[in-house]
Amino acid sequence: MKIGKCTSMGRWLSAYLDGELSGRQSARVEAHLASCAHCRGELVGLQKTQALIREGFLATAGEPARDLEALIGAVRKGIAAGVGEETGLPARTARRWGLRALVPAVVAAAALVLVFRFAVYRTPEPVIETLVKHECIVDSVDGGDRTVLLFKTHNSRMTVIWVSGNGERRSPEEV
């Protein structure tokens, strides 16, 4: 940690106030504060802000700070237990209504997908004029007693199998 420049002190002051710094870091902050009136002023400002926030929160919650955890727990319990209370129904009934509403929703969604699949979405036709058009792999060739030439055309690499007929052994290049 490098402390010494007031511009970088803001985050350290906040952490210092929250007690998040180690002993060594706190000592450095305190040493800086001892020599810097500006940062001392900043610290006081931060303390006041925190105090105001705390007071405001406590006034809203109506609970002392030590009961904060208890308050959070109570809120969580209330949320878990009171699922159906807003609608005036017991929680189990509310869950059941949720399931009842889910089934038609799922069916409707599935129907929508099917309609989209067949009525709206069309599988795009492949573009014919591509190199893939002529993609062909010859695994085996048997011309019996004839000569078989196997080659690809120069332009689009189309596969050609040429059988020399009647034992004449003529290939296209010979013609």
């Binding site: 799922v106 069916v107 599935a110 893939v132 058009k133 792999i137 011309g143």
Partner: protein, 155 residues
């Protein structure tokens, strides 16, 4: 009450699974996946002065590589076959072309092609063709030129 709720929950899950399965099946199975349309264009390649048949324009750049002066379309035949089924296409000179799509290998159709001349097979080949792919097979003599077949697979 509890068991009724559980039952309803299960039926909902079953309903959802059924609908989802249906969607998956319809979504992944392409229409007519088991059928292969094979088009065979029978061409006469020769050195006559008939020139290039305009119906073969899509093959022009490939056919001219064969070093003939004239290419005339004699016939076009289409056969729709399922895997393992053999289609027969009559060729000039009493020849017969046998096409058998065997199975899909990745995105290609594995196909067996045989040209028979009487009882003898003058060519037996096995190849894999991409969808809309074309292979040119030629060589047998016919009249003043040579038979050339453009075999295109569509599936």
């Amino acid at each position: 009450m509890k068991s009724r709720g559980r039952l309803r929950g299960r039926s909902m899950v079953s309903c959802f699974a059924l609908v989802w399965g249906l969607i998956c099946c319809l979504g992944t199975a392409p229409a007519g996946a088991a059928e292969y349309q094979i088009q065979v264009r029978t061409i006469l390649a020769s050195n006559s002065d008939q020139g290039f048949d305009p119906r073969l324009l899509d093959l022009k750049k490939d056919l001219i590589a064969l070093n003939y002066m004239s290419f005339q379309l004699l016939d076009t035949t289409g056969v729709t076959l399922s895997a393992g089924q053999t289609g027969k296409v009559k060729l000039p000179g009493g020849r017969l072309l046998l096409l058998t799509p065997v199975k899909m290998v990745g995105s290609k159709i594995d196909m067996k092609i045989v040209i028979r001349e009487g009882a003898a097979a003058i060519l037996t080949t096995r190849m894999r063709i991409e969808n809309h792919g074309t292979v040119i097979i030629g060589g047998p003599r016919h009249e003043t030129g040579f038979l050339t077949l453009a075999v295109t697979a569509n599936f």
